[in-house]
Symmetry: C2
Subunit: 265 residues, 2 copies
């Protein structure tokens, strides 16, 4: 049991099993960016229950060391750091586990950090800002043939300019893997894994080198390859009505919720 602040009564039920504790909804989506990084470096982490997450999320900021608005939230118990905001969590962990590009190349460092934000924008676009609006067939047809394609061209061109080849290399042409590679896996390999071949075809047509890179990374890593083998095509993505709407348009429907059941795993 972890006591968040001794002077008040927020008590979570999580046992301290790992050095790293993650608070996130029971979906993949943004949390996967953190999970894939930790899985790749084989660091164990504990994901707390949704009720513990809600306890912390609904606490007044002054009563809660977490100081956060929304998950994902990382608690690194080794230095008692509570850290929200996916990009900040990723760069923190990348420093901790030596996944940054060489600091002597500030351009690659900058492009690696940009990659997180580009991926985050893609996730927001795919879910119409986390479900602020539902998909219609018209909106999906437009997005999937224009803005999504431009995003994929941006990723593919960046990688090509930095030195990625179809059969070898890393996203930013680095000599070893960086967090940018793992963010790309977590965003695009997950997207195809959870949502299936309709979106996978769009990804592979417009960003073939990037998708081949994700295949190589997943295949070469035992934890990631096991993770992405399980549940293929039957895995929850972003959850909520927007996942139902997204799965509807991907299946050729009109985006109405309730058309397509959401996986429960």
């Amino acid at each position: 049991v972890i006591l968040i602040k001794q002077t008040i009564d927020i008590i979570l039920t999580v046992d301290k099993m790992s050095e790293l504790i993650l608070y996130y909804w029971p979906i993949n989506f943004r949390g996967h960016l953190i999970y894939c990084l930790l899985d790749y470096v084989n660091i164990s982490y504990t994901i707390v229950s949704t009720s513990d997450l809600l306890t912390l999320k609904n606490a007044a900021p002054k009563d809660c060391l977490a100081n956060f608005m929304a998950p994902p939230l990382l608690h690194d118990t080794s230095n008692n750091l509570y850290l929200a905001q996916t990009p900040a969590i990723i760069t923190y962990l990348a420093r901790k586990y030596n996944l940054y590009p060489n600091p002597e190349n500030p351009m690659k460092v900058a492009l690696a950090e940009k990659t997180i934000h580009d991926c985050s924008d893609c996730l927001a676009g795919l879910t119409r800002n986390n479900g602020a609006e539902m998909w219609t067939k018209e909106a999906w047809d437009l997005f999937s043939t224009t803005r999504l394609v431009r995003w994929l061209q941006i990723f593919e061109n960046t990688a090509t300019e930095q030195g990625l080849k179809i059969n070898e290399g890393f996203f930013l042409g680095t000599t070893s893997i960086t967090f940018a590679d793992l963010v790309i896996v977590a965003t695009f390999h997950t997207m195809e894994w959870a949502l299936g071949d309709t979106i996978g075809d769009i990804l592979r047509t417009n960003a073939p080198k990037m998708m081949a890179l994700t295949d190589r990374i997943v295949t070469s890593n035992e934890i990631l390859s096991t993770k992405f083998q399980s549940y293929k095509g039957t895995v929850v993505y972003c959850g909520g009505f927007i996942e139902q709407s997204l799965r509807s348009v991907l299946a050729g429907g009109d985006g109405a919720t309730g058309d397509v059941p959401i996986p429960t795993k």
Copy 2:
């Protein structure tokens, strides 16, 4: 004149006047996060015309080294880096101009980076995701008394826990200024400066130490103090219909566009 790629015909009209060239809309908003950082360290930069920005933004990614979706976009001509995404631009410039917290304190580094994302979320909240929806009186009353207040408490508590005092210190309790302080100035001092005392009162009531910090930083820096003196209360904020809607609810209106004129400076 800068030739973007020699093999194709995208030619911009900007003269190379500064090492740093910025592409952004003629508003303050997110661009201010970059301008305030550069102003503080007294580094000159050139802001290109909107037509040059549009030329680059509308180019196919493969024809354009910029590889970006939306401004702000930085071109650092010293190493020919084109870099989009506000948080990535800020951390790149913070490394370049020594505005990072001491790397021996990874917690402060992480919280400084989190600060950028928290500020960015506040800007998105204040503009209903960059104008995706207009304000109504009801929506504003709810936001300004709940979510906005929670954001301000998050900032104020973080700063207090890290060591900020009402009359001295920096946002994360560092011994010298960091990019987190300048992002706070750019977000909240700008908000009050451009939008006036209705929002200023909310900021100062809920985050008094943070706002006192912004006052100290602006007062102590000649370029920032000159910048924030000019045009006070008559300066464009985020532009577009959403600025009209925001100014309407701030003036007690119902959020209808056209109620309140937007400043042109």
